[in-house]
Symmetry: C2
Subunit: 331 residues, 2 copies
């Protein structure tokens, strides 16, 4: 494989969704860059932001692990969550990034060092290096911070969503978008993992200007709080609103998961994203994108949260993206 | 340099003292093994022991850093101390070892993994893998735990000092002692960093049986709590009591530090170890072993705690040890 011929794929999103896309694509001979949302304010990340004044490490850590070529122990260590005492709930990877940021005074340097420690194949770029919070105006209420927004039902009355203070794009993110052959947006928490990247000044413009093929990976499920009853078309239209332009291809799932699993989601008000309604004037790729993990749920009850979720299969998803981009021979 | 001809030097002690010896000796063509005290119960280490139920990581972490051939950022990261919120006071290196111990269920595996991450040249071996506490009987009182013992004035009425429960020697430590060409004991907190190793069942016997040259590096200063007004001879005799045998060589400082520095120590009751009184029937090596750091103290006040301490100079100390052991050409 000649490195200079490798296509540049930029993956834009948050933690879990990008982890899946990157994990699948890293088996192909492509140059991968993850551009990562920087507005998380919950959990271990939120505590570190509050107490240490650092930038949110969580989503970046997940993407670094996805691209790591280290051994399993090292990658598992990054995800290790302390379960006792004052450290309870903190993920080791978050502590690593935050300690390095505090030491060097630069989140960018921290990410570089961890990239080296984890021997990552590709690059992970925070979408912005500004300390920002996600804000939303819902009806007349202003909601502060991603954690609270996540729990707020928008019910069609989202007036505006923005980052505060104004977030300037990380120049490395702009350069990566400029150089990309393909840009994959999503999947992920719609406003909190995907759209939040597009609220950074300069990012939507850069994506539109880029000659890259723009691919939207639609979420498998809807969330009652933010994307209630969305179809593939609703998701695409909502994304394109924040993109202020259109994507070229839309990748969506068209396989029904086990009904027991769907019922489980329905209890929360979450539904399967409907593919009866797809956006016109797009290259549309509907396929079975479901991870096999769901079957574990049916067979052995609910041994872990992982096994009871409707998830993208990284291999299936990567196959489709590779085909769209025109990349063959996975490793 | 032929690896098979390299001499094996085993360094027995705790954190700071062993760090100095190892930092100096690692520039020589020798095989280094640090055998490390495992009874620390204070500070970040103490909190992790209490809250996570792990073995004490602090002294082991220091020795790993000493032998690391990683870059400065990586070594500094290990020593990084969080200074805010719930993480306050925790050293990153301690969190790393403890997370790995919790994940793998083995402190030994954790030490191995960190040895790999830090690319250490040599080996670091916990003296025991049993969860033990240092105990002392002072007069009629029983003092529990190293942290409290450290603050207790013995005033010549130490009846007994021991580990609880009985600590079994780490087989790797016994093997290293058996294979050693030289064993360096100290410097370090006398009971808490040095003698505590000799309270592990099997260690004193192994040292006595070993054909290695036994070298005692005497502390520069006395501590009012534990070694009040000790001379070089007092230190040596006390050590040999716990060793249940004798050392071959005694290395001690014979240079007077700045009087301003000595006065500072005197306020606490700590004094310079007197070299007027040295033990007979030993190879005695008295030399200027002082670190230049003291001069910073005189010139610019007390910029940091480091600069205001009487410390061994790693280079001077290593030169003398290398000479005793018969090793030439430092790197």
């Amino acid at each position: 494989m000649k490195a200079k011929k490798r296509k540049h794929i930029v993956v834009i999103g948050g933690g879990t969704g990008s982890f899946t896309v990157l994990s699948g694509l890293k088996k192909y001979p492509v140059n991968l860059t993850a551009i990562v949302a920087m507005s998380d304010s919950g959990g271990s990340t939120g505590i570190l932001r509050d107490e240490l004044g650092v930038l949110p490490p969580g989503d970046v850590a997940r993407c670094l692990v996805a691209l790591s070529s280290s051994d399993t122990l090292m990658r598992t260590l990054m995800d290790y969550r302390f379960d006792n005492g004052n450290l309870k709930g903190h993920r080791f990877g978050n502590l690593l990034l935050s300690a390095l940021e505090k030491m060097t005074g630069s989140f960018d340097s921290a990410v570089e060092k961890v990239s080296e420690i984890l021997r990552i194949d590709g690059r992970v770029i925070p979408v912005t290096l500004d300390k920002v919070n996600l804000m939303a105006k819902v009806g007349k209420r202003i909601i502060h911070g991603e954690e609270k927004i996540q729990m707020t039902r928008l019910n069609g009355s989202l007036e505006r969503i923005w980052l505060e203070p104004v977030a300037r794009a990380n120049p490395k993110a702009l350069a990566a978008i400029r150089a990309a052959d393909a840009i994959v947006i999503g999947p992920g928490g719609f406003y909190t993992g995907v759209v939040t990247n597009l609220l950074v000044r300069g990012i939507p413009e850069a994506i539109q200007k880029s000659k890259a093929k723009k691919i939207f990976v639609c979420n498998l499920m809807t969330k009652v709080e933010h994307t209630r009853d969305y179809s593939v078309r609703d998701y695409t239209r909502a994304l394109e609103k924040y993109l202020d332009g259109s994507v070229d291809a839309v990748v969506y799932n068209n396989k029904q998961p086990a009904s027991s699993l769907i019922k489980r989601y329905a209890r929360e008000g979450d539904t399967l994203t409907s593919w009866d309604d797809v956006p016109a004037e797009h290259e549309l790729i509907g396929a079975n994108l479901l991870s096999h993990r769901e079957s574990k749920f049916q067979k052995i009850g609910t041994p872990s949260k992982e096994a009871s979720l409707v998830r993208h299969d990284p291999v299936k998803l990567a196959q489709i993206i590779a085909k769209i981009v025109g990349v063959k021979n996975g490793k």
